[in-house]
């Protein structure tokens, strides 16, 4: 997202198309930022969109959060029938508990004692944004995107997740129309937690598959 809010200025001012974009590590991203601004301003000028519609859409995108993913996971942990439906058709299952998605499909991949799943988009940064909002910066970085497909165990270890050799790693390259989340295993010691408390254990890293859900230290002690 190039700017936090639309603004009416023209583009005579100093956007250097070759200035590095520190957060994406790619100088060309600055060029696309300018192109995106110009396109947005033209659409507003020609009354295809209003500035208000643009900012409403930005607000909508920013209102999505990891908590919606946590709700799906906690429901799946506590309701076997919902878990089955979530694995069959993630988008339909999400809609059934009031969580609509705009992407074509949500594929939910389930961790088991024998399988650890991790998600990446090697080509860009495909991510279930209508469910979870924007992906973290590292998910968009070339280092993660290029390395996790070819050395997932090493990358996961850098996140503090050591996967035993007898557990298969399944890397899912989210390269096209499907969007993915991981259904992690419910941590031991959470038998007494209710659905809301379980949902709070689910972080963005859990849903991407780089870290398992953990009890807070206080509760684990």
């Amino acid at each position: 997202m190039p700017h936090d809010a639309p603004h009416g200025h023209d583009h005579d001012h100093d956007h250097d198309p070759h200035a590095p974009a520190a957060d994406l590590g790619d100088a060309r991203s600055r060029w696309y930022e300018v192109a995106s601004d110009v396109m947005r301003d033209m659409l507003v000028e020609r009354q295809v969109l209003t500035a208000r519609e643009v900012s409403r859409q930005i607000e909508l995108m920013e209102s999505k959060s990891i908590q919606l993913g946590g709700r799906l996971v906690a429901r799946a942990w506590t309701d076997p029938d919902f878990r089955t439906r979530l694995l069959e058709d993630g988008k339909a299952a999400a809609a059934s508990i009031g969580i609509p998605m705009t992407e074509a499909a949500l594929k939910v991949v389930e961790d088991t004692p024998a399988v650890h799943n991790v998600i990446v988009c090697t080509l860009c940064s495909c991510y279930p944004r209508s469910l979870l909002g924007q992906p973290p910066a590292w998910y968009r970085n070339k280092a993660y995107r290029s390395r996790v497909v070819r050395e997932p165990r090493q990358v996961l270890a850098e996140f503090g997740t050591r996967v035993p050799d007898d557990v298969e790693i399944h890397v899912h390259d989210s390269n096209a129309d499907l969007r993915f989340i991981v259904l992690p295993m419910r941590p031991a010691g959470t038998e007494r937690l209710d659905e809301a408390a379980l949902a709070a254990l689910v972080t963005r890293d859990c849903l991407i598959g780089v870290a398992p859900p953990r009890l807070p230290d206080v509760a684990a002690a």
Partner: protein, 106 residues
């Protein structure tokens, strides 16, 4: 499941592959908004799932929004087949979505 499915478009062929089929990824000389990364090209994997009909992203990216639609699949590869120097369990796998025109029977 696919919101694009209702869009008008020319008829599309039945899926050529079913789960379990062995497929090789083609290395088509296509520029632009291609969704088949180079690391799977020429590699042989197994179809795990038919994902449905989709408008081809290679067309959509350039405003050609009326089809034809293409069949999509999830295909699984052994990591040790994708990467000669793969360090990890021999049963580690990689799953990726591929459109039918990028696949041939292996």
């Amino acid at each position: 499941m696919n919101p694009l499915a209702a869009a008008p478009r020319p008829a599309c062929g039945e899926p050529r592959f079913v789960p379990g089929d062995r497929v090789r990824v083609l290395d088509l000389p296509r520029p632009g908004h291609v969704r088949t990364p180079h690391y799977v090209r020429h590699k042989v994997g197994t179809v795990v799932e038919y994902t449905g009909l989709f408008l081809n992203p290679e067309d959509l990216a350039y405003g050609r929004c009326s089809g034809p639609a293409v069949n999509g699949y999830r295909v699984v590869f052994d990591q040790s087949h994708l990467w000669r120097d793969y360090r990890g369990s021999g049963s580690d796998r990689l799953f990726i979505e591929l459109y039918e025109h990028w696949l041939e029977r292996a």
